[in-house]
């Protein structure tokens, strides 16, 4: 492994070797190497095969901005080999080849490329339509991007919030200068960079002929930043998106950061652009900046004899760096007819490198295996978009391309900014940035280092000022003239393979054909050709497409527009998006007692409730036994999850009168009354009971899943009505147990000596306060299950003690807990509806046969006017009880439809086999004329069979209520 000596290789530690595997072979690099740099140092130049034609591809940007270096690492597909640092034991494989990377059996596809134009998939495989899924399967196998292992274990990913006064994205010269200036003003600054080290181009590029300026500037700024307490540096951190109010997503390792950025400086730099010529994708052809990164950061020689092609001063810097690394530079090809003389060109001439001005690259000649470059052919330019037919050939094993630049402006676009492109010079500028956001450095179109630093200082000062750190004005250095630059001409080659988009193997004629077909709008062009839609997201492909479109339509670049840039800017894993899963779960005070008794728990909103107790294989029997024990003896159910609201104040009665359909003003203290809530549209939304504990105090229950909405709705109405009433949400504050069954009075009596439980003193729908086993309790005589019962509400912290006391006191009687399923069965026998099971988003009180719960004397309740309009309009359906007398008939399920003459007249909402009655009973919506008891109707079950059912009068059980009122 041959490496350049220091000062080359600033990112690697030569004292520590690291071994990993690539395609099954052992590869050795140094700590600090990326997979790509280590492979190149070992002479491996082909890193992947292209998406469509399976052409060999190597390093292009060397900074994770292209798809050539996508590799599979263990179970992770599509990792960037020029971004991921090597670690001992990494198992890296290349992607998208059949056979081996070196000898891809599908490489012959390139010979068929003229049969596979853009839109080929749509056009060739669309007819017959039935065949598309078969083709799709094959195409996806050929054009794959790694493999997903469905058995991959879950990684530990999480999220974190970050806050900063000032945030700077991009720690190149502009970003570093901005961070320092803002920190000097007193702001806390977060400086974010996606690379392992700060410095940006200062770490690898050349800014002067002597080659000293970058290093000196880098050292000075880095030292100042290290000494500044107010700057926090986050490296290896990718900013993946801008969201409203400077909210940024950052990814570092397995953590997604959500940053409230404060004032934001975007100094993300720019993307150097490849040139477009025949075979411009061969391994060994790379951006000038990629060659410089390999040399400066990793001490890797990208070749031995180079041709450098440039449209600006930076190509000269790359050529000088290649020379410094001991690489022969065959020539520098400059697209400009008359390049300016400056320190760079002077240094190059001193080193006798020929400069060919006014010329362009036309084609690269591949090595015999096609895995590298042997020579490059150069032609004189004849006008802006035409080259001479005569070639000059230069032997070389690498080509460094310094085309022009496209701004890394995704964050600016997302913030509403606009980039405007000059038509001939390759220059650009940014506009329309929101307040609290500044762009600095080359992303804003500045290229001379003095100006970039000046931009940074100005942006940092402005950001500090916006963040509230007043800054005394300082004199800023005068700006120097920006360097001369030109846009690289795009001249298609007769033999194609002049790639515009490397991700999708799109060539110049693909874009031109699409334009000729009429896809002239840049957005349509993008979608039809998929140009810029691959993993590199058009960083190198969008600008040439815009230029080709402008040329075709004769428009200016600015009129041609640009494509949209949405988050995420870089690849995010599902793990990052998921993070740690926060799924709140609510346990009642008795939760663990249920588990100890073998309860099967089920979710009820965020709560967990016992569905039933005992073995799952005996589910039906367990539920029936729990229910029968309530009917015949005594059962107990945890009702802590019930919603609870305290409504207090002189207007408490008036408030309930307005919120619920019934009348509450004259409700006696010590009594409970049913509450039914409708919304403004007169649709049933909740129910419960209101217990009057004092003239000015009601304790109101609400459904488990509805109470949050009921509470919020109550507060919303009173924000307008301004009644003297306070509503307090106490659902979780009280644990509740409902003890029910003919023997429950004796059990409660054992534990209570301050409430007279006799039916005369404490009748049905009565409410009392007292103690159970010494625990203060609210006693409610309500009967959802239709038996004598007491609902005991106690402070949550004493709920478990209450449960224990009742279970102990009831042991002799054979008390057993029952779950939600038994409760549903019991209430169905009593014909009680469950809101949102037996009602839906349209159910009105009249449909649900709840007209008895509506007061007609009140001036108002929410939904009153709607209910009266519904009443006048008549019913279209009605909720009724039904039974199925044929004991051999298959049992319908909830939501099975009631059908008459082929038309739907309703549906089943609840159904069960009643152990008490020995038959199948249920609730269903039916047509109004089917609602009369005795009417028969049909229910269509799974598979299409019809089952006969008969409307019956509710309730099914204990019609006069004698059992619950005993």
């Amino acid at each position: 492994m041959e490496r350049l000596g220091a000062p080359f290789g600033s990112d690697i530690d030569r004292s520590e070797s690291v071994s990993f595997r690539f395609e099954g072979a052992q590869v050795s690099g140094y700590r600090g190497d990326t997979i790509a740099s280590a492979l190149l140092a070992n002479g491996v130049t082909t890193l992947s095969r292209s998406f469509k034609y399976h052409r060999p591809r190597g390093v292009l940007s060397m900074c994770g901005q292209d798809s050539n270096t996508l590799v599979q690492i263990g179970q992770q597909p599509n990792r960037l080999a020029d971004r991921v640092a090597i670690e001992a034991g990494l198992d890296v494989t290349a992607q998208n080849y059949w056979g081996s990377l070196e000898n891809d059996r599908l490489a012959h596809l390139r010979h068929f490329s003229r049969f596979m134009p853009v839109g080929f998939y749509y056009k060739a495989f669309y007819k017959p339509r039935w065949a598309w899924p078969l083709w799709a399967k094959l195409i996806r196998r050929i054009a794959g991007l790694g493999t997903v292992d469905l058995n991959t274990p879950h990684g530990y990913y999480d999220k974190q919030y970050l806050f900063s006064d000032v945030t700077v994205i991009g720690a190149g010269p502009a970003g570093m200068a901005a961070a320092l200036r803002a920190a000097q003003a007193g702001a806390k600054v977060l400086l974010v960079d996606e690379n392992a080290e700060i410095g940006g181009a200062l770490a690898y590029a050349r800014f002067d002929g002597a080659g000293e300026l970058a290093e000196a500037t880098h050292a000075e700024l880095a030292a100042k930043i290290a000494a500044e307490d107010r700057i926090r540096v986050m490296t290896d951190t990718m900013c993946t998106g801008w969201y409203a109010d400077n909210w940024l997503s950052l990814v570092k390792g397995n953590r997604l950061y959500k940053l409230r950025a404060g004032a934001l400086v975007v100094a993300t730099g720019c993307y150097e652009q490849p040139l477009i010529f025949h075979n411009n994708d061969l391994p060994g052809i790379m951006l000038g900046s990629a060659a410089q990164r390999l040399i400066r950061l990793y001490g890797v020689k990208p070749g031995n004899r180079a041709v450098v092609a440039t449209a600006n001063r930076d190509g000269y810097g790359a050529a000088l760096d290649l020379l410094d690394a001991g690489i022969e530079v065959a020539c520098v090809v400059d697209v400009r007819a008359d390049p300016p003389e400056d320190d760079m060109s002077a240094a190059l001439m001193r080193r006798h490198v020929p400069i060919v001005a006014g010329a362009t690259l036309r084609e690269a000649v591949p090595t015999s295996g096609g895995g590298g470059v042997r020579a490059v052919k150069i032609a004189r330019l004849e006008g802006a978009e035409k080259a001479a037919r005569r070639y000059d050939s230069f032997a070389c094993d690498m080509i460094a391309m310094a085309g022009c630049y496209a701004p890394a402006a995704a964050l600016l676009h997302q913030a509403g900014g606009r980039v405007s492109l000059a038509d001939d010079s390759g220059a650009f500028s940014v506009h329309d940035l929101p307040a609290q956001l500044a762009a600095a450095g080359s992303v804003a179109g500045t290229n001379m280092l003095e100006n970039v630093l000046g931009d940074g200082v100005a942006a940092g000062r402005r950001a500090a000022d916006e963040a509230g750190f007043s800054v005394a004005a300082t004199s800023e250095p005068p700006r120097v003239a920006e360097a001369d630059a030109s846009a690289w001409p795009i001249i298609g080659h007769s033999r194609g393979k002049d790639f515009v988009d490397f991700d999708e193997d799109l060539q110049v004629h693909d874009i031109e054909n699409a334009l000729a077909e009429g896809y002239r709008h840049i957005q349509l062009l993008k979608r039809f050709t998929t140009n810029g839609m691959g993993p590199s997201q058009g960083r190198h492909a969008t600008l040439p497409a815009i230029r080709l479109a402008a040329r075709r339509t004769g428009a200016r670049l600015d009129e041609t527009g640009s494509t949209t840039s949405r988050p995420p800017i870089g690849p995010l894993t599902m793990g990052h998006l998921a993070g740690r899963s926060f799924e709140p779960v609510r346990y009642t005070a008795m939760h663990f007692r249920h588990l100890e008794r073998g309860a099967r728990m089920m979710p009820a909103g965020a709560w967990m409730r016992p569905e039933y107790y005992g073995e799952a294989r005996a589910r039906e029997e367990n539920i029936a036994a729990e229910a029968m024990n309530v009917r015949d003896n005594v059962g107990i159910i945890d009702v802590s999850t019930l919603g609870g609201l305290e409504v207090r104040g002189p207007d408490a009665g008036e408030f309930l009168n307005r919120m619920y359909t019934f009348a509450y003003l004259k409700q006696p203290v010590g009594r409970a009354r049913y509450v039914l809530m409708t919304d403004a549209a007169g649709v049933i939304v909740d129910d419960g009971v209101a217990c009057r504990l004092h003239d000015d105090h009601f304790y109101v229950t609400a459904t488990t899943s509805g109470v949050d909405g009921v509470y919020r709705t109550m507060l919303w109405y009173n924000a307008q009505w301004r009644l003297k009433v306070d509503v307090t949400h106490v659902s979780a504050s009280y644990a509740g147990a409902n003890i029910a069954g003919p023997n429950c009075r004796e059990v409660v009596q054992k534990l209570c000596d301050d409430v007279d439980l006799s039916p005369e003193a404490f009748p049905y729908m009565g409410v009392r306060r007292g103690h159970v086993a010494g625990i203060p309790a609210l006693f409610l005589r309500v009967g959802f299950v239709g038996e004598l019962g007491y609902e005991l509400h106690v402070p949550a912290s004493q709920g478990e003690a209450l449960w224990d006391a009742l279970m102990e006191a009831g042991a002799d009687a054979g008390i057993r807990p029952f779950g939600v399923e038994a409760q549903r069965l019991l209430r169905l026998e009593k014909g009680h509806i469950i809101i949102s099971q037996d009602t839906d988003g349209l159910t009105t009180p009249h449909e649900a046969d709840m007209a008895w719960a509506i007061s007609r004397k009140k001036p108002y309740y929410v939904g009153m006017r709607s209910v009266s309009i519904q009443e006048a309009g008549g019913l279209t359906r009605k909720l009724v009880g039904f039974e199925i007398s044929d004991s051999d008939a298959p049992r319908p399920k909830e939501c099975h439809l009631v059908i008459r003459g082929g038309a739907i007249t309703g549906r089943v909402t609840s159904i069960t086999r009643s152990p008490t009655l020995g038959k199948v009973i249920g609730l269903a919506y039916v047509a109004p004329d089917q609602a009369e008891p005795g009417t028969e109707f049909e229910i269509k079950i799974d598979g299409g069979a019809m089952v006969r059912a008969k409307t019956v009068k509710l309730p099914f059980y204990d019609a006069d209520g004698a059992r619950q009122e005993m």
Binding site: D158, L162, Y587, G649, D696, S733, S797, A801
Partner: protein, 233 residues
């Protein structure tokens, strides 16, 4: 033989978690409070200075709300900030967090004292409520203390509000979302070791306790007893 949580009818919703973490309990305010986790008091105090999680559910707390809350509590001798989301410490050790113009939360100190809480609770009745209503905070909210230098970093993983010491002053209150639960966060320290009270839905106590310990793991956070917290204050 130490006290077991189930020897009392009032029990923290977390008592099984505390027991399985090896807590040693003592009676406080009629319930068992986890005083320590083992014998090494010094190590536990150090833990509390680094990152500790302490269950304060046994400590006294109450609440009052209504349009006349402020006048009524002042009549009981309370002092209160006019601004919302600020804590006012009382001379007797009680702290009053004003949650809204019409709502206050009263917290006892870490030794279980809160004379004003007892006084207000026993003085209040529905008969003489007059626009001020009791809120059963001891039953509505479980109460944790988070202490130690890593607490702000921990909060950054579970709460979107900026709770860094420089942004969230002592005695500040944030009513917000923590790990997807509604919660009240109070900065309780006076400068040396960051310390926060966290009150949230009592029924979600086990969920949040486990979520917090999971989030604390990267900083070496652990449960600490009340004794270690008392040592800090």
């Amino acid at each position: 033989m130490t006290l077991a949580p189930k020897d009392r009818t009032r029990r923290s919703f977390l008592y099984r978690e505390l027991e399985s973490a090896g807590a040693v309990f003592d009676e406080l305010n009629g319930a068992a409070a986890a005083m320590s986790y083992g014998a090494d008091a010094e190590a536990e105090a150090a833990q509390a200075r680094s990152l500790g999680l302490c269950d304060l559910s046994a400590l006294p707390r109450t609440g009052f709300k209504g349009w006349n809350m402020s006048a009524w509590l002042k009549a009981q001798g309370a002092e209160m900030s006019e601004a919302s989301n600020i804590v006012t410490p009382q001379a007797d050790g009680t702290r009053i967090a004003r949650l809204a113009p019409g709502e206050a939360l009263l917290l006892g100190n870490y030794r279980g004292h809160g004379p004003l809480i007892e006084k207000a609770d026993s003085a209040w009745s529905m008969q003489e409520a007059d626009g001020c209503f009791q809120v059963p905070r001891a039953e509505t909210n479980f109460w944790l203390a988070l202490s130690g230098s890593h607490v702000p970093a921990l909060f950054a993983k579970i709460c979107a509000v900026d709770l860094r010491p420089e942004s969230f002053a002592t005695h500040s209150v944030a009513q917000t979302n923590v790990a997807r639960l509604n919660a009240i966060i109070i900065r309780a320290d006076t400068g040396e070791v960051p310390q926060f009270d966290l009150l949230s839905d009592i029924a979600s106590a086990v969920y949040l306790w486990r979520a917090l310990l999971d989030a604390m793991a990267e900083f070496g956070g652990k449960p600490v007893g009340l004794a270690a917290l008392q040592e800090l204050n």
